[in-house]
């Protein structure tokens, strides 16, 4: 019994320490973003020698949004002789294929890839497209995204740096007016990109390649084996595979692109559970190689570790809540103030998501949108919602790792009925 109580107390202390470590990490990021030196990104480079670019757009049943993204990409200021657009029709049962063929008939640089054989899913689809692509640089957009005119140049220019393997732009929800969920997700995104990713770039840590609004060197990724088809978080997996092989991942705050955030809590639940499962799959795969890597500095390893483990934190916290309940009912709360303290630490650190409330608030100020800070208290609902579904995702990942189960790709449902960009007649 004494041993059990010691274990419970030890676990509680471990949880609190972990929360404090993450709190310190996020405070450092926030202070850096507010007061620290901001590293230049490469978007100011003007260079007449453009690299060849292939834009990949994975699509599964995207008839609602397919035309919107293609119309936006047609407005790009990138030299069309150096550009090809490869929409990947991945087992679509709706009119996606027909829409793509219509555009291909009109524009020779739009080259759809229709996939109806083999495995389905984003990583596999991207791998096929990488083989078909001819560009030196691959830029990926999800189908619901709305790229501005200059974004391709903004992303492609960073590959003039010979050490850059991948770059991630900034994602901004366009459907904030839909409901409370989209407004809260908008806050999360702001904190995560404007503060967290940018601070990691400033501090020469490793920003995360997010799988969309981002690019990578085609030949490098091919040489490293392309995307792992058995990982749902193929973007996180690529981030670690590149950095462990000596390549840098950059963050481009000025490469902004609209996305469609989930409008239903059920859709969001599936999304966050998938992210957690995928991210934790990557964690199990790369934890040891990360610590052993000779290409990373000590700082990069520490932050890489904290990033890798981040989708375990809600699980650890949830177990910690039960742990403190057990200690409470056993009358063994004299170590610290127990559940209340744990709840406080949890709220303080991960209030809302992986972008704590002070990161979100800072992002809103930097974006010149301070009024939305008033919604911050609502993030507590997001927080408990995320804890539950991330924990389920962690459990999925544990089963994946132990049983070596094959993962099945899940697509996020779309909600857009018509174009949200003025002048787009689609």
């Amino acid at each position: 019994m004494a041993l059990a109580i010691s274990i419970l107390k030890g676990y509680l202390l471990f949880t609190i320490c972990l929360m404090v470590i993450y709190a310190v990490r996020h405070i450092i990021f926030t202070l850096n973003r507010l007061f620290g030196e901001q590293r230049l990104y490469y978007h100011d480079i003007i260079d007449s020698d453009l690299t060849t670019v292939s834009i990949l757009i994975p699509m599964h049943n995207e008839e609602k949004v397919a035309a919107h993204i293609l119309e936006q990409l047609l407005k790009t200021d990138y030299d069309m002789d150096k550009l090809e657009i490869i929409p990947i029709n991945d087992f679509s049962a709706d009119a996606t294929g027909e829409i793509l063929d219509r555009y291909a008939a009109k524009y020779p640089f739009i080259k759809p890839l229709h996939r109806y054989e083999g495995d389905r899913g984003k990583p596999v689809a991207l791998n096929d497209a990488i083989e078909a692509a001819t560009g030196e640089i691959i830029i990926v957009f999800d189908a619901d995204y709305l790229p501005p005119r200059g974004i391709i140049r903004n992303i492609a220019v960073c590959f003039k740096d010979p050490e850059v393997g991948a770059v991630m732009g900034r994602v901004i929800p366009v459907n904030t007016k839909a409901n409370l969920l989209t407004r809260l997700l908008d806050l999360e995104r702001s904190g995560g990109y404007q503060v967290d990713q940018q601070a990691r770039y400033n501090l020469k840590l490793t920003p995360q390649y997010g799988g969309t609004v981002g690019g990578f060197r085609r030949e490098v990724v091919r040489r490293l084996g392309s995307f792992d088809a058995n990982v749902l978080a193929e973007d996180t997996e690529l981030t670690y595979r590149l950095t462990l092989n000596g390549w840098k991942v950059l963050y481009a705050n000025r490469a902004e692109c609209y996305e469609e955030a989930p409008e239903l809590w059920t859709v969001r639940a599936r999304q966050i559970r998938r992210w957690s499962r995928g991210h934790n799959d990557v964690m199990f795969k790369y934890l040891v190689p990360l610590l052993r890597s000779r290409h990373l500095t000590f700082r990069e390893k520490v932050d890489g570790f904290l990033l890798l483990v981040i989708y375990c934190v809600p699980v650890i916290l949830m177990i910690g809540v039960f742990d403190s309940l057990a200690l409470f009912f056993l009358g063994e709360m004299e170590i610290v103030a127990g559940m209340l303290f744990l709840v406080f630490i949890g709220a303080y650190n991960t209030f809302g998501n992986f972008a704590p409330f002070y990161q979100v608030g800072t992002a809103c100020l930097l974006d010149g949108a301070p009024q939305r800070i008033l919604l911050l208290p609502f993030l507590i609902f997001n927080f408990y919602f995320n804890v539950w579904y991330i924990s389920r995702g962690f459990a999925d990942s544990l089963v994946d790792t132990i049983t070596m189960r094959k993962t099945k790709w899940q697509k996020t449902e779309r909600f857009r009925q018509k174009s949200v960009i003025k002048g787009q007649g689609v």
Binding site: R39, I45, D47, L146, R149, G150, I172, R183, K204, I421
Partner: protein, 338 residues
């Protein structure tokens, strides 16, 4: 009773933090998505191009007769239209000036608003201008201060001791003498000092030399000896020094400083987390980018005829005499020509 009051207080305090959020949620003061300019594209001569377009639109394509006009730009403005303008010493011009042919100003003239000249412009000593757009050539005398920007379709020559404000851009040559300060420059090319001091085109490399070998980069290097030859890109974890007359057919990247001796040639791009110092008569065919400071000694050439490259630094850029940059120079710190 006390218990009831306590319960009510608890409920109120619980919901209190949410009240402003409820207000924002229902009133939707800040509900619009963050703004992205969907049409934005990088344009080095943006200020001049957009100002010309805006003013010509308001002045019926520039066909208006001489005199005063009232136009609505970002606010109501008075535009003074000239056929040819000769502004005498010491005058203060309080309105936007639109000159349909040439402009000549004496010394110590103050232009409080923007100036658009469709002919050529000759700016006298110690003038102060808010901004100048010119369709012809521009000659800027010494000690001139630009508050915002200068843009010309033709070449621009700037005498010593001038402050070029936020941006100076030309569709042709931009020649700037010593002791001038800047933030952004654009020219084809940008030349410092006297034009004859810059390397002549016969000494420059052409685009056919812009070779970057595609193999693995060399990573463990910190020094390249004099007259060394490297047929690969180099990624240095620390500072990198390059001996005189070395030739690198690839890109350079350093997590420290990059210091090159005289007459080093780099056919690719240069990126540094620290400072970049290129010795006399170095040639770089690509872009130079530094998170620190950039210093070019005399006769350095960046880029080549027919190409546009960039020289970008975070903390400051110092250009010696006879430096030539085909394209764009930008610094977030202080830019100076010595």
């Amino acid at each position: 009773m006390i218990l009831l009051l306590f319960a009510i207080l608890l409920v109120v305090l619980f919901f209190l933090p949410f009240l402003p959020g409820f207000r924002e949620f229902f009133i939707e003061e800040d509900v619009a998505p963050l703004f992205i300019d969907m049409d934005y594209r990088k344009e080095p001569r943006y200020f001049g191009v957009s100002f010309r377009r805006l003013l010509l639109e308001k002045l019926s394509g520039g066909t208006v007769r001489a005199g005063l006009r009232s136009v609505l730009l970002s606010r109501q403005e008075t535009v003074e239209v000239f056929d040819t303008a000769t502004i005498h010493q010491g005058r203060i011009m309080s309105d936007i000036c639109f000159v349909k042919r040439d402009l000549r100003s004496g010394s110590k003239v103050l232009f409080e608003k923007e100036v658009y000249v469709q002919g050529s412009a000759s700016i006298g000593e110690f003038n102060q201008l808010r901004a100048l757009a010119c369709d012809g050539e521009v000659a800027v005398s010494s000690g001139v201060k630009l508050i915002r920007w200068l843009d010309a379709e033709g070449s621009i020559r700037v005498a010593s001791g001038s402050d070029l404000g936020i941006s100076a851009s030309s569709g042709q040559k931009l020649i700037i003498e010593e002791n001038c300060s800047f933030k952004r420059l654009y020219g084809l090319p940008v030349i410092t000092g006297q034009e004859h001091e810059a390397p002549i085109s016969e000494h420059e490399l052409g685009p056919e030399h812009a070779i970057v070998f595609a193999g693995e980069a060399e990573r463990e290097l910190s020094h390249i000896p004099e007259r060394g030859l490297k047929d690969c890109s180099i990624i240095a974890a620390k500072s990198l020094t390059i001996g005189e007359q070395a030739w690198i057919r690839g890109d350079l990247k350093s997590h420290g400083n990059i210091t090159a001796g005289a007459e080093v040639t780099v056919t690719g791009n240069i990126f540094a987390e620290g400072d970049v110092h290129l010795g006399p008569r170095c040639r770089v065919l690509g872009t130079v980018f530094s998170q620190g400071r950039i210093t070019f000694d005399e006769g350095v050439v960046v880029g080549c005829n027919g190409k546009i490259k960039s020289v970008i630094s975070k903390k400051g850029t110092t250009l010696g005499r006879g430096v030539k940059v085909y394209g764009f120079v930008l610094t977030e710190g202080e830019g100076i020509i010595v």
